[in-house]
Structures are given as structure tokens and as C-alpha cells.
Amino acid sequence: MANAYWCIVEDDRKGAPKKVMSEVLGEAGRLAGGTVEAVWLTDKATDDGIKQLGAWGASKVWVLENAAFAPYIGEVWVPALAELVAKESPKAIFAPVTSRMREFVARLAARLGAGLSADSVGFAMEGDALVATRPVYAGKVLAKMTWAKTPWIATMRPNVFKPAEASVAKSAQVEKPSVKIPTPRMKLVERREEVSTGLPELTEAETVISGGRGMKGPENYVILEKMAAVIGAAVGASRAAVDAGWRPHRFQIGQTGRTISPKLYLGFGVSGAIQHLAGMRTSKVIVAVNKDPEAPIFKIADYGIVGDLFEVVPALTDEFKKLLEK
């Protein structure tokens, strides 16, 4: 329907929308106060997935299902969705920040000649205009952004927006529009899976444990992994640790790594260089453990312990175990 707020669905590639969609749909619902629709480009949409999107507040799910949509290729996705946008004239197009959505939404905005606010952390309606908030300059400043016209296109940082409460009473109407599927010039050769850590994905995790230079070496991350297994956290690292070769780059938190915004961030032996803070400053609760009482991370920490992480980590892990086994 014209003027709807569209939420592009990020899924697990197995037919289920990712949990971050509850945040995107929830925020869109608060802004729209009415029509929120999900748009799902996928090679396999499942009934359960559609039900889930409805429960999170989508009144309609546009299902664009085609084998050509996996893996994501901009040359395929962009013309397909642009065709639907031209027909339906949505007022806003939202997506979560994930690797493919980042590129897709940027390319789509260029195709539509529309503005894009990437990695937004807040929205407000000012009169009839949407205003987005996004961190800039390593998160040292917040920028308020406005659009020249609709559709307002934005991506949302995961873990920042309040998720929609799932309601099984709500259900979505399903629409399967036919759109032209272009043939891409680029061809998938293979997908190389990373060795699974068995822990949550860094950018999606509600709790993140991070180890810095104070970890002293790659062999010591095992103590953080033990704690992570107890509390269901992801394990990241600072640039110092990554540049030293202790952890692969995909685990780096910071300006030249991943931006995270967990409910709880625990930093061990992390000094808190600006470039690290840029990637975790919007975490809700920050805990820092460092030997150096002058470490800059204590300036933004909610709770700090000045001490030796090699004593604190095992003791804290035991305390978490006791708490969670109760």
C-alpha cells in the first residue's frame, strides 16, 4: 500500500527472519503508527517465517521468492525491489545493518535517487519529516539527518531499538508480486564457512566479551571463551590484539572492525582507545577490568574493577556460573 513503512527482511538463509527484524519492525511500528509491511527477498520463504513477521507487527509480507535471490547479488536484488517500489510508493524503507543489507540498501537508494541514512541509532518524527540520528566522527558526535523526499531510506544498528513484542494474535497478509529477475554478471564460485565458534555472532550478541592487549597472547583467550560459554556471549578483541595476530580480524571491535551495541559489554585488558570506543560506545552497560586505573575505558564504564584480569576472569566466570545455575 502506498505510503507504507517497509522493512526489508534479513534472514538466516534457512527461511527464518533474524531476531533483529523484531527491532526494525518495532521501530517502524512506533514511527508509522499504522501500516508496516515486511518485504522478503529470499530463495525460500517459510510459513513460520511469515507468521513471525506478522507477529512482530507486519500487516503485510511482500514475498519475492526466487532461487536467484541467494546468495545476495546487488544486480539482482536492486532492480527487482526497485520495480516494486515504483508500483507501491512506500514512504520509508528500513533494513538492519548486516553485510549484505549495507550494500543492498545503498545501491537501492542510488537507483531510486533517494537519500540514505546508514547505521542509524534513533528516529523521530518532526512534523511530517523523519529525522534520523547517527554517530559520526568515531562516535564522538551525533548527526541528525533529514531527507529531501520520500522514500526515507535507512539502516538500523542492531541491538539499539526496542524489539516489537511478538503477538500471535497478529497475522500478516501475504502478497507475492511478480517482478523481473535480471541475470547477474557476477557468479558465485563457492562459499567458505568460517569455523564456528559455537558462540553468537559479534554484531548480534546481547552480551559481548572483549579482550585487549592485556590478554598478553592468543593462548589466553580461552578464559574469555569459557566465560562466554557460561553467559552466552560473543568474544571480540581490540585492534591491538588483532594487529598482534592474536585474533582474526573478523573479531575486531572498533572503527576498523565491527560496530557493536550489546546490552552488556565486558572489556578485559582493553585500554579504551578512541578507535575501540567508536565500535562499542553505544553498548548499554559497560564493564571494564584493567590493571591501569588511568585506562580511558574507565571513563565510559558503568562498572570497573582495577585489577589483574587473569585473577578476575576465572573468579567472575565462577560467579556467573553460580548465578545462572540457580
Binding site: 546487488g74 545503498a106 557476477m186
Partner: protein, 260 residues
């Protein structure tokens, strides 16, 4: 093979950033140290490596911005780029990502390179959109966040690994194409003294919208204003023996912060 690298000049990460007293939409640029955005250095390095491996070719650095941007282009030349193009006009002062992509695309259409490389994002506004938007304006294929690449012997195809959640997707992409560099692609070189001296003699060409047949339109996304970060409530250092401190921390995380 000709390669264009898109470069952005940004404030150094460690530099103090203050909102301008005169213009709440801008930062105070006095005293800022400017650098080439780190991801763009990966792009420059990769372009130079492709040229060196092939034993021939040309690497052209392009940047949009005011006069100070020449310094960033000079750094790119010092690393080894052959020449530079500076999109330098007040009409681009408020360029958003799309206007930037359109300007870059116009230059690229004139230059007709086989490959365009850029960083995955610039570390000032962190928008991460220009590479993909450039590909869209040019109607070229693109891959973002690449971790490795290999151009085939005929310079017809590039094989790239793009980083995605949980792995790497490897694609064969016919050239021309746009690629955006992720950290891990390479280790950028430092300019040598010879490189720095040589860069002074290399060409930096100023380009105006008229030279490209462009009339920059109004931006689609505007900064309404900049705001200082809200202060975080003061934190609490938990004192005492380790065993007591961790007990108190866990209690506080559960009962006060409700974070676990």
C-alpha cells in the same frame, strides 16, 4: 590495466572533534589532523599490487572535497599512484553519498578503467555507501568488504572473496567492476622518501562539474544539526579483594543494571 581508486580525506581518529560554534551542522576544522581514510589505504595498496603483479598499468587516485584534499591525494601519489584527479568545487560542498557517487561516476566514465577500488567506508561519516552507489550509477557489478582478489591474466575477470556473516562468498566478476576493501585485504605500505619526493612532480588535476557535464543537484540527505554525545552517567569502580569485587559486580549487573 587502468585502475581508479576513490579516496576520502578524513579527520585522524585520535583528533579532537568539536561542533562548530558558527555552524551547528559542521565541525570546527581548526587544529584537525587530516588523513587518508584507513580503508582507502587498503584500496590504494591493492591497486598498486595489481599493477606491480601485472608489470604494467596505471593507478589513478580520485577524491572529492575542498583544497585540503590535495594533501590526501599527494599521500596516495607518494604510495605509488601515477596521477590524481581532484573534484574540487563549492557546488560539491554539501554532496551526500549519492552526489559523490555521481561525480565519481562521471570521472570514471571519462577515464574508463577496468577496475574501481574504494574503502568499505570512510571513517568520518561511516556511511559506507559510495562504493555500492557508484556501481549502481555506472551499472557495474560490485562486491563490498572484499578480503582477497585476483584479476585473471587477460584482465577480463576478477575473483573476489567478500566477507559476510559466518564466512566468505567467492565470486567471479567480469570487469569493469567496483570493489570495496575490508581490513585484512593487505597491509598498506608506507611511502618511501623517494615516493614522497616523486609525488611532488606527479599531476593532480582539478576538475569542475562543468568538465564532467554535471550540474550537482540538491543533496537527498542533509545534516540538520550535529549534537554532542549525551554524557554517560558516572561509573563506579568496585573496590576490594577480587573475590568480593566479582561478587558485587555480578550482583550489580543482575539487580541494578539488569544486564544479565
Amino acid at each position: 590495466m587502468k585502475i581508479v581508486v576513490a579516496v576520502k580525506q578524513v579527520p585522524d581518529t585520535a583528533t579532537q572533534v568539536k561542533i562548530s560554534g558558527a555552524d551547528p551542522k559542521a565541525i570546527d576544522t581548526a587544529g584537525i589532523t587530516w588523513i587518508v581514510s584507513p580503508y582507502d589505504e587498503f584500496a590504494i595498496e591493492e591497486a598498486l599490487r595489481i599493477k606491480e603483479k601485472r608489470g604494467q598499468g596505471e593507478v589513478v587516485a580520485v577524491s572529492l572535497g575542498p583544497d585540503r584534499v590535495k594533501e590526501a591525494l599527494r599521500s596516495a601519489l607518494a604510495m605509488g599512484c601515477d596521477r590524481a584527479i581532484h573534484l574540487n568545487d563549492p557546488a560539491w560542498a554539501n554532496a551526500d553519498t549519492l552526489a559523490t557517487a555521481q561525480a565519481l561516476a562521471a570521472v570514471i566514465k571519462q577515464e574508463q578503467p577496468a577496475l574501481v577500488l574504494c574503502g568499505r567506508q570512510a571513517i568520518d561519516d561511516d556511511m559506507g555507501a559510495v562504493g555500492a552507489q557508484l556501481a549502481e550509477v555506472l551499472d557495474w557489478p560490485c562486491a563490498s568488504w572484499i578480503m582477497d582478489e585476483a584479476v585473471d591474466a587477460d584482465a577480463k575477470t576478477v575473483r573476489v572473496g567478500r566477507q559476510v556473516e559466518g564466512g566468505l562468498e567467492v565470486f567471479d566478476i567480469p570487469l569493469p567492476a567496483v570493489l570495496s576493501a575490508q581490513k585484512g585485504l593487505n597491509e598498506p605500505r608506507y611511502p618511501t622518501l623517494k615516493g614522497i619526493m616523486g609525488a611532488k612532480k606527479k599531476e593532480i588535476k582539478d576538475v569542475k562539474p562543468g568538465d564532467l557535464g554535471l550540474t550537482p543537484g540538491a543533496p537527498q540527505l542533509m545534516v540538520k544539526k550535529l549534537e554532542a554525545l549525551p554524557a554517560r552517567p558516572p561509573g563506579r569502580i568496585i573496590q576490594g579483594e577480587v573475590k568480593d569485587a566479582v561478587k558485587e559486580l555480578v550482583r550489580a549487573l543482575r539487580e541494578d543494571a539488569k544486564a544479565i
